[in-house]
């Protein structure tokens, strides 16, 4: 038995046939970063902020996201504006603290904050993990979030 196998090299052929089969089939992996995986719609990446159609921010500064955040990643500063309205001076999410649970999106009463598709968070300066309101708004302006 062993001799026959040795002579005919059937193991090798079996192995090679698998290799050849996969060589000609469609690859499972992606050539990241040249090619991106098509993320599911409800993927929970770094947060984005949305605007109204007229360009005004949707966020009214109610602070519910900061309150519900289990890891206290959201810090918010608000004040009274010129017309006595509420103005959000700063809205910072520390992505280093964020656990991507999506509660902020869930609780937002004005549909301002959403979990985005952005997952590339590798940075060299930890300070950059603190994302500002402006950065999140710019991300939110990306057409891929138009459905939100």
């Amino acid at each position: 038995m062993g001799l026959m196998t040795n002579i005919l090299q059937t193991d090798l052929i079996k192995g090679l046939s698998l290799t050849i089969r996969y060589f000609f089939s469609k690859p499972v992996t992606l050539r990241y970063p040249e090619v991106y995986y098509d993320l599911p719609e409800r993927f929970r990446g770094a947060q984005i902020l949305k605007r109204h159609e007229d360009g005004k921010e949707r966020c009214v500064g109610c602070g519910l996201c900061a309150e519900i955040c289990p890891s206290r990643a959201i810090a918010m500063e608000t004040s009274e504006g010129e017309d006595h309205e509420k103005v959000v001076n700063s809205y910072v999410i520390d992505l280093g603290l964020c656990i991507y649970c999506g509660y902020c999106q869930e609780v937002c009463p004005v549909d301002a904050v959403f979990m985005g598709q952005d997952f590339e968070l590798t940075i060299t300066d930890p300070g950059k993990l603190k994302v500002t309101k402006e950065q999140m708004l710019t991300k939110g302006d990306n057409p891929r979030y138009d459905r939100l």
């Binding site: 109610c62 602070g63 519910l64 608000t78 004040s79 504006g81 006595h84 509420k86 009463p109 004005v110």
Partner: protein, 893 residues
Amino acid sequence: MMVRLTIDGRQIMVDGHVNVLDAASKLGIHIPTFCHQARLSDLGACRMCLVEVEGMGKLQTACTLAVNDGMVVRTDTPRVEKARRMMLEFLLINHPLECTVCDASGECTLQDLAFKHGSAETRFKGKKRILRDHIISPLIDRNLNRCIQCKRCVRVCEEIQGVTALGMSYRGAATVVGPFMDKSLDCEYCSHCIWSCPVGAITSRAMKHKVRTWEMEKSEAICPYCSCGCTLSYNYRDNVVYRVTHAEGRGLNMGSLCSKGFFGYDVINHPDRITAPMVRDADGVLRRTTWQSALEEVARNMKRISRESGGKAVGGIASDRLTNEDLYLFQKLMRMVFSSNNVDTPSGLWSRTVVPVLEKRMGVRAATNSLDDLNYTDALLIVGCDITVANPISGLKVKQAIRRGGLVTEVNPGKTALSRLARRSLAVPVGKELALVKGLIKVILEEGLYDSETLGKYGKFSELEFSVRDKSLKEIARETDCSVDEITQTAREFAGAKKASIIFGETAVLQAGGEKVLEAVIDLLVLTGKLGQEGCGLYPILSGTNFQGALDMGVSPNWLPGHAAVSSDSERKRVEKAWNGKVPKDGGKSAYEMIQAAAAGKLKALYLAGVNPLATFPGGEDLEKALKKMEFLVVQELFLTDTAKLADVVLPATSLAEKNGTLTNVERRVQKTSKAIDGLGHSLPDWKIFSDLGVACGEEGMNYLNSSEVMDEIASVVPFYSGINHQILADNGLQWPFSRDDAREVYHEGYLGTRHLLPEGLSKDKQFFAAVPVWETHSADSKYPMTLVLGDLLFHSGSFTRYSESLNQLAAQATLLMNPQTGMGLDVQDGSSVRAVSTQGEFTVTVSYSEDIAPGMLFLPRHFKNAPVSALMIPGPDDQARTAIVHVRVVKA
């Protein structure tokens, strides 16, 4: 009468005057309500507290329904629940759903009840009512659309504050809450309306949109702004105090606050706070440094001067805003480490004029009674004190007495907020208070209205009779600008009342011969037998936050802690033993004497803790020269004040919100104030600085772990504080004298200290009358004919609150107030500039006409930079220093 009723199947016995709502809450059954609030009259406006009562067909409002014997109430039936749901549905027709940005969100009764009882759907499809609104005040924000017409703000404004600035105007669906003519709000900014609003219709603009209610933590503390000692609650987030809230039902104020307490918190996190020690370098510039080097600098110089020139060349003045622990360590540091009895507070003048008289006549050194007694007083005489400004919350108690029918007579050189409410407001010219009090005594003697018990003790009042013989009532009336009838009526009311008290303040006493007014006032109390019982007593009121504590802690040139005389060998020995150190023998200099000694070059080093003499001390330019002449000046402050800019070393201290300690209020109540936030930057609590400095001087006896340890030492040195420690003060303040034995009572009997002094009456050696003659006031110097009263405004407290942006919005500038009649006599118009000149100095200020000021009198607030009152006030030793009343000349500028 007690009645028994059944609520939700449970029986309870309550007083017959209680309503069903309060009876239910005693059982722990919460009936939802909007319009009901403790201390307010009940209205039944909101219909939220409907309950089912057996035998009554319709649902009843629990807040207006008095309990009845055998009543059976149900609060949990489907019918009640349906009624609640419907009421909420009605309210939410028009209430805007903007909880996301509403500042009341999180503590809104409507929000809470809608969660609990409301339905998620509304059956009303129409548009919401939108009312035209506008800004009615810089600090109080009104939002008419959110208003649910519960009328709590209107009632609290009238019933508690006695101002009635708010009303309900228009009607039906258009009803709005607002001030007169719906213009801007002109009121005392007491903040009660903000407190009472169950929704977000009235909110504070000082914190508008800055923070959400649930983000903040709360910490109870004592208000730093006057001697009333109100309990308030600091609300903070991330080491920033965002607002002050009322501590419902807590403290002697029951939660009530005044404008200063509620809006004055923004000094705490002010951007100009000093956050690191500073030492003047070789170039003469103040530079930031470390605590260690700053303290070494202070220790080296103070020790050197004390060694070279003797302890008399060193002095220290501490603010009466500091805690007892701070003040105690301050005087210990000055006395033991720097061998100097030159310690004083800005309120020292009061301690040395008023307190000796109290001591001599009654054997006490503080107010005899509790502030709560004022609530129930039948007759009250207020002499030379605007109680609503000096002690706004004591003022509220007086207002309550007036609402209960108490007969309040005010003797002031002008009109105050009480004048409109009080039975009688006598505008007695400055210097004539004595004549008026003597007039009252005369009436009482002539009509035989005196207390029979007193007569029994004294036999006859011949001395007193002799002292009022020379002047007829008519003459007195003419002199005091009152009518004979007013004087007679006041005397009769006072003598005839069951509970009668006298309040007196600065304007009467801090003027030439002011002690005599006090002597006469005590004569009046003794004569009518209004001493030593609940509701009968004397309240000497000064506004300085901890002026009583400063005196008790021995921050005084002549007194050691516990009112022990420095001159007494045995007392000194006792203190020395406790400290394991030396106390100098000779009496020290008062604050003003220290400045004078500095000008003469005799005082070389001065330690100022929390005081800004350039703003509040007499002397003007002379004072500045004296401070500049100082060889070594240390200023321990929150801000880089004008005085701090002259200092050699500036040490950053913390505000009251950033430290633990105790304060003693005007009614001798020792209260604990707790730290809310950590000290800003490198600032340290004052006691810690004194302690560290003592250690830096090589004195291990000054080493303390915390302020509680300091309090324990105070208890061992001050006999009447002996039962007091931080733990026992945790829930309630205690009124001294409070011994160790009393401490056991606190836990067993709920004993809260000595409510009133002199329960046995005056001791044998105090049973006499001073019988000062009706005082002949010397006529004013013709060069300086006008009498200027230097006083406080309701919205400020010393020069400290200048740093509060909110309070500056209410009053930012000083104007010289005068009666239009006076103005016309001087030919100065409302709004024109004048020069005010006293023997000491002068400055230019704007005139403002006010009907509240008596003709011939002037009033100037002493808080502001644009009117540096220091330039007008006349310095000198105690019997000459005049800080409340100054004679001036007014010239057109």
